[in-house]
């Protein structure tokens, strides 16, 4: 059952990323990417990380992709279309991809994977994760909030139109 779910989710994920790369319309690409992120969330759920799965679906597939779609809405995508001049870039990049995947699979097949038999029942639940987050990782957690407010202020300052004097 779990293997079947894994195959279904990963094939949907890979297929929707292919659709994202191949589609000409940016809005369609964003919708394909949402599907891919939801599938990844399902995979996280399979790997005994229910809290991270929820965070993935709420923040990635929800918040970040809504930002993308807002920006696509504000930009006139047909206006800036210039004729595709460089077609030759396709073959070198496919070559780079091929080399990269061979390297990665070679590395991964030599990886020592630690395995402890029998995970705890509450592994990855919000309660245990929150305990670790607020004790061992308290300072990184607080610094993350500073990072987010800096990004927020930075984005507003960047996009704000200068007042004419």
């Amino acid at each position: 059952m779990a293997v079947f779910l894994f195959i279904l989710l990963s094939l949907t994920c890979i297929g929707s990323i292919l659709g994202m790369i191949l589609s000409k319309n940016q809005a369609h690409s964003a919708l394909y990417l949402i599907l891919a992120f939801v599938c990844t969330g399902g995979l996280f759920g399979l790997m005994s990380a229910p809290f991270i799965a929820a965070v993935q679906i709420i923040i990635y597939a929800g918040a970040i992709m809504v930002l993308f779609i807002f920006v696509i809405m504000m930009i006139d995508i047909r206006k800036g279309l210039s004729p595709e001049r460089k077609k030759w870039i396709l073959y070198p990049s496919l070559g780079i991809g091929l080399v990269l995947i061979i390297e990665l699979i070679f590395i991964l097949s030599n990886t020592l994977v630690p395995s402890k038999a029998g995970t705890i029942e509450s592994f990855g639940s919000p309660k245990t994760l929150g305990k670790v987050l607020f004790t061992k990782y308290l300072y990184p957690f607080e610094i993350t909030s500073v990072l987010i407010i800096a990004a927020l202020v930075g984005a507003i300052v960047l996009v704000k139109k200068k007042e004419e004097k």
């Binding site: 964003a30 993308f68 930009i75 210039s82 460089k86 870039i89 780079i96 995947i101 960047l158």
Partner: protein
């Protein structure tokens, strides 16, 4: 129990798809989406290792990666909007002022 290697192979495939997509696409928004796909591939690998080591540290790192990705998306999209305002286009070929 699914073998850990399946997840690692899936993560490698996702990462390579993100890389190739970044190289062959020609508009800034889709390239940015490909960067998100690469981040996501790293997340899959982290979660897989966290489960195989029964350690929560991997999941915490994924939590932080997702937060940083949110901040990065906000700033990156603001920069894309600025490029669009200056060049009236989001094609990478149209922003080649420094090409010489």
């Amino acid at each position: 129990m699914i073998p850990i290697y399946y997840f690692l192979i899936l993560s490698a495939v996702l990462f390579v798809m993100g890389t190739v997509g970044f190289l062959i696409k020609k508009d800034l928004i889709t390239q940015f989406m490909c960067v998100e796909v690469m981040l996501n591939a790293a997340n899959v690998a982290f979660i897989a290792f966290a489960r195989s080591a029964s350690s929560l540290n991997g999941q915490i790192i994924v939590f932080f990666i997702i937060t940083v990705a949110a901040a990065e998306a906000a700033v990156g999209l603001a920069i894309i909007l600025l490029v669009y305002r200056q060049k009236k286009s989001i094609k990478t070929e149209d922003s080649s002022l420094m090409k010489g």
